[in-house]
């Protein structure tokens, strides 16, 4: 592992997220093995791979949500812990109990807890920021609803709004398009593209191969180990996909016309 550490030093030291030699095991089976990943600043990257390839695990381990066995992670040239106020994380929707007694606006406010501190009073500016985040995902009318009353797509939008309220520079999203309606998918992609256009870095664990070319600038192909990384145009090739998916490759659907990237 130290060998890999020594050889992979080509990425700029200030990359929004830089992962070196990351290995995560569940029990004695590595879910992610010796992965190097460097996100391009101001780009939108899809993290793609078959089921069980370790996509979500990679994201969680990079953020310290689960503890890796080996590897180093830095963000903006700093240890992740020193850069957390610049990182926004959108976990999988299914990871929380939606019967929890909070309203939509309370969840968005959680994105501001870091700045509020333990006892800081919630001021008008904080409320305005939370409302603004809700407006950007089109959920203003739902601010006072209990989160359990939302549809799956609406829940996902609320999670995104919480990340927006953080005011971060790096956005990491875990399967934001899983089980959401088409309108929500469009809305989320719109928000993410706006973030990218404002110079933010976005990485998304993504399932749907047919939309990769339309939504993303870069792609990172993963199947326990890193398979390929780079711009979608040159990296998202049948050859690399076959390497990542092996015999499990679903027939690739025709790319959508007029790629947004």
């Amino acid at each position: 592992m130290s060998l890999r550490l020594a050889t992979a030093q080509d990425a700029p030291l200030t990359a929004p997220l830089d992962v070196r030699g990351l290995t995560v095991s569940y029990g004695e089976k590595p879910a992610v093995f010796s992965v190097d990943l460097s996100l391009g600043a101001g780009a939108m990257t899809a993290i793609v791979g078959p089921n069980g390839a370790g996509k979500s695990t990679l994201l969680k381990a990079a953020l310290g949500v689960i503890t890796p066995l080996a590897g180093t992670v830095s963000a903006f040239g700093l240890p992740v812990d020193a850069a957390r106020d610049r990182i926004a994380y959108v976990p999988q929707r299914a990871s929380v109990d939606w019967d929890f007694p909070v309203r939509v606006i309370d969840v968005v406010m959680m994105g501001l807890y870091g700045q509020l501190g333990l006892l800081g009073r919630i001021r008008g500016t904080h409320r305005a920021r939370a409302q603004d985040a809700l407006a950007r995902v089109g959920m203003t009318d739902f601010a006072q609803r209990q989160i359990g009353q939302l549809s799956g797509g609406q829940q996902q939008r609320v999670f995104l709004a919480r990340a927006l309220a953080q005011g971060a520079d790096l956005f990491l999203l875990d399967e934001p398009f899983a089980g959401v309606d088409a309108a929500t998918e469009t809305a989320i992609v719109g928000v993410l593209h706006a973030l990218r256009d404002a110079g933010k870095t976005v990485a998304v664990v993504h399932h749907d191969l047919s939309t990769v070319e339309a939504y993303f600038d870069d792609v990172f192909l993963l199947n326990t180990q890193a398979i390929a990384a780079g711009p979608v145009a040159t990296t998202f090739t049948d050859n690399n996909l076959a390497a990542a998916y092996g015999g499990r490759l679903a027939p690739r659907q025709a790319a959508l016309p007029g790629a947004l990237a």
């Binding site: 949500v65 990182i87 333990l118």
Partner: protein, 399 residues
């Protein structure tokens, strides 16, 4: 007598006990809320039972050192240490082995309690340190409470309260979304420890008043009671504190007013009474309200289905449907539509026809998601949209 007790006029000791129980109830309600929201309510049971060996050992140590074995401060310190050890065992078993938390709790709880009972038996035969009344920690006893004991409880409960208020934001975050909490720099393991420390403090403080077997009730019942009434964490917290405090206050006052009635069980029964009222009568989440809403929804569905059947000339077989139609004056005893029934049926059919247009038109995608067979299109669409849809309706005969 009861009025005197409730108005704190039964003497200094009773007043101290009542105040102590009230503050304990508030602290337990608040601390228990996070435990409950984190889905780990049963941990409190392990904590409370794990206090017993510590109490026994503390007594033995103090007796051997020649002091009073029943010094409350010393007993509580021992209780806290052994409860902390119990917690560590549960957390070690859960994270380092494949045991689930409930199994780990069951194991630790019973083993620690067993050790504690053995120690108490040994102490009785020891004949040193004046062990009479030591078994009161099982069910609590306030009768012989010293002024210093009561003050100690009061201060400890106040500290617990302050800690809950300070940590409420990170604890809420860790309970709702631990992954996000970690990603935004919160140390969830340490927050869990803080939560456990809160629970431990409440349990240890509660030993003297409600006893280790029943203190669990004070940690769990008030939050569960509060959850019936609110969908907001801050409100659930406040209500749980209120329910806990009220239980402690009324329970302690009752037991002071009625001779021979134990304080702990009465406090728990008062808490249970509040729970029962909430379970039945709370709006939205209460059992009665849920049953009522289910009934009225069922009626709505039957009426709607009945009207659509009438409109399409289909026979109606379900008794409930026929009864509802009859009672609303929409159908006769023979199941044939009345004039009003025919009109209502035609309206229901028209709604369905309108919905068919809404569902097919991608421009109405947002409205189409509201289709559930009961909602009327005019409740979802603007008058302009309705006009456009009506213009697109195929001209039916008879309308």
């Amino acid at each position: 007598m009861l009025a005197d007790a409730l108005l704190l006029q039964l003497g200094y000791n009773a007043v101290l006990v009542t105040l102590g129980a009230t503050v304990l109830g508030i602290a337990a309600g608040l601390g228990g809320t996070f435990l409950f929201l984190r889905g780990r309510a049963l941990l409190s049971d392990a904590v409370s039972h794990a206090t017993l060996p510590g109490i026994g050992l503390a007594f033995i140590v103090m007796a051997l050192l020649g002091g009073d074995g029943r010094n409350l401060g010393g007993l509580l310190l021992g209780a806290g240490l052994s409860a902390a050890l119990g917690l560590l065992c549960v957390s070690w078993l859960t994270t380092r082995t494949r045991l689930t938390e409930d199994a780990a709790i069951g194991t630790v709880l019973s083993v620690f309690f067993g050790i504690g009972v053995v120690l108490l038996t040994v102490i009785q035969s020891l004949g040193a340190g004046n062990p009479a009344g030591l078994e009161d920690v099982l069910l609590g006893a306030t009768a012989g409470m010293l002024r210093s004991d009561a003050l100690l409880l009061l201060i400890a409960a106040m500290l617990t309260l302050a800690m809950v208020l300070i940590l409420r934001r990170p604890l809420t975050l860790a309970a709702f979304d631990p992954g996000f909490a970690t990603a935004t720099g919160r140390n969830v393991a340490r927050l869990d420890l803080a939560m456990m420390a809160l629970v431990l403090a409440v349990v240890v403080v509660g030993l003297k008043i409600v006893g280790l077997i029943l203190v669990v009730a004070l940690l769990i019942i008030p939050p569960v009671t509060a959850r019936f009434w609110s969908e907001r964490v801050d409100h659930v917290l406040a209500l749980a504190g209120l329910a806990g405090g009220l239980s402690g206050y009324v329970g302690a006052a009752l037991s002071a007013a009625i001779p021979g009635v134990p304080t702990g069980p009465i406090i728990v029964l008062v808490a249970f009474a509040l729970f029962l009222v909430s379970l039945l009568a709370a709006p939205r989440r209460g059992v009665l309200s849920a049953a009522f809403r289910h009934r009225s929804h069922q009626r709505q569905v039957h009426l709607r289905q009945g009207l659509l059947a009438l409109a399409q000339g289909q026979p109606i077989y379900e008794r409930l449907t026929l009864r509802l139609l009859r009672r609303a004056g929409l159908a006769g005893a023979d199941g044939v539509a009345t004039e009003a029934g025919k009109a209502a049926a035609a309206r229901a059919l028209l709604d369905e026809a309108r919905w068919q247009i809404v569902l097919r038109d991608p421009a109405h995608a947002a409205a189409a998601r509201r289709y559930d067979g009961l909602t009327r299109p005019q409740d979802v669409l603007t008058p302009d949209q309705m006009a456009a849809i009506d213009a697109a309706l195929p001209r039916p005969e008879g309308l």
